[in-house]
Every structure is written in C-alpha cells, then in structure tokens.
Amino acid sequence: MSVLDAGGRRVRAAERARARRVAADERAERRRAASSGFSNPSNPRRSVWLTLACGVFALYCLFPFAYLLVNATKTQADFTSTFGLGPGRSFALWDNIREVFSYQDGIFARWLANTLMYVVVGAGGATLLAVMGGYALAKFRFPGRKAVFAVVLGAISVPGIALAVPQFLLFAKLGLTNTPWAMIVPSLISPFGLYLMWIFSDQAVPGELLEAARVDGASEWRTFRTISLPLLAPGIVTCALFTIVATWNNYFLPLIMLKDADWYPLTIGLNQWKDQASTAGGQAIQNLVITGSLITIIPLVIAFLLLQKYWQSGLAAGAVKE
C-alpha cells in the first residue's frame, strides 16, 4: 500500500506542475489573442459574422427537428393538406403516439426493444472491446503491435457499407442471417473506437502509475480495473457515444441481414412504414412515420445531454501531447 500512496503523491505533484504550466500557457495565449484580435473566453470580443455563421448552422441543424416536432402533431389528412411548417387543423400528437404503439399489433414497441438490445449488446460490447484492446495496445509491448496498428488504421479507412455484402454472404454461410447475431456481431467491431481508446490510454494513463501498481503486487486485471479505468472514463464515454450513435442509426446492415419484421430495428421498420404509402392499395401513414421518427431520436438526445461533458473532454483528449 505504501508504494501506491507514494505513487499517488507523485501523481499529485505532477498534476500541480501541469496546472502551473497550463496557467502560464493561458496567460500567454490571452496576451497573444488580445494583440491579434481573436476572441476567447477571457477576451470576449464578439464577431458579428461568426455569430451569423453559427446561427445559420444552428438553423440548418435544428430545421429538420422543428419540422419533425410540428408535423408529429398532425393527422394524416392535415399532413397532406396544410403548410409543412404551420400547425394542423387539430392537435393529434397524443393520438399519433398512441397509434404508433398500437399499429400492426404494436410492432413499433418490438422494434424499439430490438434497437435497445442491439445498442446495449452491440455498442456496449464494442466499447468494452475497444477499451480493453486500446489499453493493451497502448500499455503493453508485444511483437506484432505495429502490424495491429497498420490493420486498425486500414480498417478505419474502409467504409462499413463496402463490407456489408461480403458480410452477408459470410453470415449466410454460418447460418446467422435473419438472427439478431447478424446485427450484433458486426456492431461489436469498432476500429475507430479501438484507435481512440489506444491514443487515449497512451495519454491518460501514466506508465509510472502502472509500474507502481505492479511493484505493489497488483495483478494486471486489478491494475486495469482500479487504476486505469477511472482515468479512462472520459474516453470510454466518448467511445460509447460513437458506437451507440452508429448502432442506433445503422440502416444498411440490418437492411440486408434481417428479413423478419420481428427483428427489425427502428430504422428499417420506419422505412417500411414510409414505403407503404407508395404501394398499390397501401395506406399512407406518414403521420405515424413522423411521430415514430420523433420517438426514435429522443433516446439519442437524452444520451447526448447526459454525456456531453464527457464527450467534449474526450474529444479534446490527445489533441496536445505534453
């Protein structure tokens, strides 16, 4: 224990030194910014043009959301007959929500549960694998590390869509298509997440700390769990957000893998509802598609609001090497 305490003291000392350096850097930056005219938190000069540009982008991002909110309150008849951004003749949001969950024997709830399952198992598993893999690559020296690095970088540059069809043929051979595994197994692999966690581990976990723990007799697993994991928290959250968003929005993979409506995620199910209007004799249910889409994005919005401070610190991590 004493060595660990000594390690803690050393960390605290290093942290104080780092804080002093940061303060000095910030002073210099303020001086520089003031002389060059750029604005920053401590030199809050406003630029009309930048504000305008930001406003335009905000509008661009929020517009579809506003459209969704407005149109989720309309009946199908109002949807086709009233102005797209204006209110309908009646307020039907609650009716729409009820109908979304009761249409076709309430299959929407099943799709929602499927999506949640794919996210928890797929994105959760991907994050777990990325954290452990990234940590191992950053903190252990073993033959073939460079090769792994090349493979991971290469894997990031191959878009997932390009692999979807070969994946389908492979999964068909294994007899896994049309089962949840066809959605989960490919979701478990996140080269970008691995890369992120690798770089993050390299920066966030000081080697001295691990040495101290090892000298103290902690097993590698215990070191990872009690010392490294807390330090990796912002990175883990960032990585989890990336994989959650990717899995939640995944469209092409389930499109080709799943043929059973009982296993569809929301993306495929909603698309199917949308297409129904353009088939011979098909009932148009655009009001349900829109309300369903609104319900679909709510969990993602919540995830972002809850995790955004970790997300920000995670994004900036590794940007500067000290």
Binding site: A77, V121, G124, I256, A261, G282, Q283
Partner: protein, 451 residues
Amino acid sequence: MRFEKMTKVIALTGAVAMAFGLAGCGGSGSGSSASGKGGKTEILVWSWDSTLPRTVKGFEAKNPDIKVKVTNVGTNKKEYTALNNALSANKGAPDLAQVEYYALPEYATQDKLQDLSDMGASGYKSFYTPGTWNSVNLNGGVYALPMDSGPMALFYNKEVFDKAGVTEVPTTWDEYYEAAKKIKAVGSYITSDSGDAGFFDSMTWQAGAKPFATSKDGKTVTINLTGDSKVKKWDDYWQKMINEDLINTKIPGWSDDWNKGLNDGSIASLLMGAWMPYNLLSGAPDASGKWRVAQMPTWEKGGTENSENGGSSLAMIKTKDDSKSKAAYKFLEYACHNAEGIKTRVDGGAFPADNNTLKSNEFLSMTSLKDADGKDNAYFGGQKFNEVLSQAAKNVLPGYKFLPFEVYARGIYGDKMTAFTSKSATLDQGIAAWQKDLQNYAKQQGYTVKE
C-alpha cells in the same frame, strides 16, 4: 470505487442482454426450417402487398397442415435486392415472392423461378386478363400467377376540370393537350412527370411501341428506343407538353408534395394504373367526391388501345424440397386463383387480374371505397368506377415485352431524365442516353445486343 461499481453494472447488463439475445436466436431458428412443430409444413412468403396477409387465415383454415408466414422485407427494389442476396448466398430465400410484372423476366431468365405449367397452371390462360397473362407467360412457361393488375386509366379532378371549362373529358391526346392549356390557365397542372420509367413504359406501350425484345434462347436482346416510331410519337407529344409548361416536372411522383397537389387540385389528373383509387383515398383524402375515372385518351378518335401500369405477380422460387413446393403452390393457387382468396384481396383494395371478378356484378356496381376505419367513402362522387376500369383491362394491347434487366433499366431512367425535368435537354436526348447505357449494360451482362 464509483467506477468499480459501474463496471459491474456494465458487465451485468451486457451479460443479461447477451442472454436475451441468445434466447431470441433460439426462437427465430425455426422460421426457415422445412417443417415446424406438429408436422406442419411451413412456407415463407415475401411480399409488401397489404392484401396478401389477409388471405393467410382463410388458407390455413382449409389447409391445417400448412403454416404460412408472410413477411414484408421491403418494397419493390429493396425486396429484389434482398432476393438477389439470398439467391446468391443460396440461403434464406423465401418459397414464394411478390415480383412485379416488369421484374419477372429478370428472374425467369436467370432460372430462379419454378415453371408453374408443370404444376397445373398451364390451363389458366382464359382465367386472367390478356395483359397480365401475357406478363407471366414467358417463353412458353408460366413463371408466376397474377396477383393484381393495373390497366391505365385517366383519373381526373372534376371540380378543377369544370372550373377550367373542360366539360368533356378528353378522349384523344389532342383533346388532352387542349384541356391542359385550359387547366394551366386556372393555375393548375393537368398532371406531373419528373422522369418515371414505369410511366414511360406504359405510355409508349399504349402508343403501340415495342422497343424491347429478348430472343427465345435468352441470349440476344433488342433495345431499340430511338428507332421505334411509336416511341418517337409519344416522345414528341410529351416534349410539346413540357415545352409549353403544361405538366409539372418538379414534383416527383409519390412524394408528400405530390399527394398535396392531388389533395388541393394543383395536380388535376393522373394517367395511372387501376389500383390507384385506394391510394387516392389515403393520399388525398380532402379531394373525396371530386375525382372521377375515364378511359385513357387515345391517339385516334374512337380508339380503345390501352396498356398496363405496375401490378404484381406471385412467383415460386425453385427448390428441391418437394413437400415445400407442393405446399407453396397450394397457397399460390389460393391467393391468386381461388375465388375466395381473390375476393379477400379485392375487398382489401387490390385491383383484380381475373376475368371472373372483373365481370362480377358486385365488383362492377361498387360506388364507394372502404376507408381505414371501414366506412364507405364515395370518393368518385358515386360513379361506378370499376365499370370504367374493368373495360380498361380488356383494352390492353398484347405483345409488349420488358427487358430481362428491367430493374436496372428503371433504376437509371431517372438519372438520364434529370435534364428534361430542368428543361436543359430534350426527352429525345435523355432516351438516347438511356438506350446507350442499356446497350452497354447488356453487353457487360453477356447479351448479344441488337438495335
């Protein structure tokens, strides 16, 4: 310490979710096996049609040893992609699949479909309308049974026509052109077209064109759009309409804007398949009572020629499992040939492909549609619309053939036609570019190409 707890929680949820996933797998495994529980033969049907699932109950009541599962794996092109994937993987293909008439030659020539003439369908010629029978009867085999049909008709908004002073429904294309000018004068478009290949096929078919042909051995394909005088006839006419801004080229068919246009009268008529009534009811509900149906305008006064637009067939995928193909044929027969099965679907909104229904009094005397709540809606103002549509089905010109790669052809048609919708090029140029692309594609696919 906080994180220690957190990892435990994560590990636990992961484990629970995995177990849930595993349990789920066990449940779905039986879906594709030949015989399910209790010695039942299970067959899988892929279809996006909303009326087909309704026939399952009646069928299973009569055939307690067969279980039918109908799944919607995607609408038209999405289903074909899924079907191609499953066929190339040799796994997961359904026993029966909904295939539109235009896509049928593609699967028939690839030898993926069961020839139904051996199973008893060869004598069904007089049962179906000439247009639909012609579409499923390819090179002497019967590769599917017609599910529904779409003889073209003129659907028009009478209120807008009256307002524009078009009191006589146009019966020739010249009259249609004159009507279009009057309707433009009151601020509406007579119709819209932003480059739809199915519409192009139907319109040239009605003009008597036969731009595509495939040899009996399936190795030579003829693609002659630019040299076909009947294609040219339609093309010149439509170009005139575009040049004088008489049709809306901005609004894509089936978009929300399109439905809005049909709803508020800014698109005043449609040249569309006979299956349109229910789509009008759900897409343009406010216009109920204003619309009417008439025969297509023709090229000569007093002409009756017509064509098909859309429509689907139900095809059987080849399989070596005899008990399955027998069970699948039974369902196919029930859904597409049995009077009870057909009635179930027609009541659900399908436009029939068989002569018996088209002749039946009950069908011909219909004056209203059933809406989503099951209420009667006199959408066509009390008109006996099926009398018109039934006659339209009889007038379909025989002999029109689709390409053996029509799915691809239709997929690229829109790209070739973007110029005409923005009026920076002519239809002629678009069609020539389409032809060139199709010929190249045919060569890549190993066909001998004739013009």
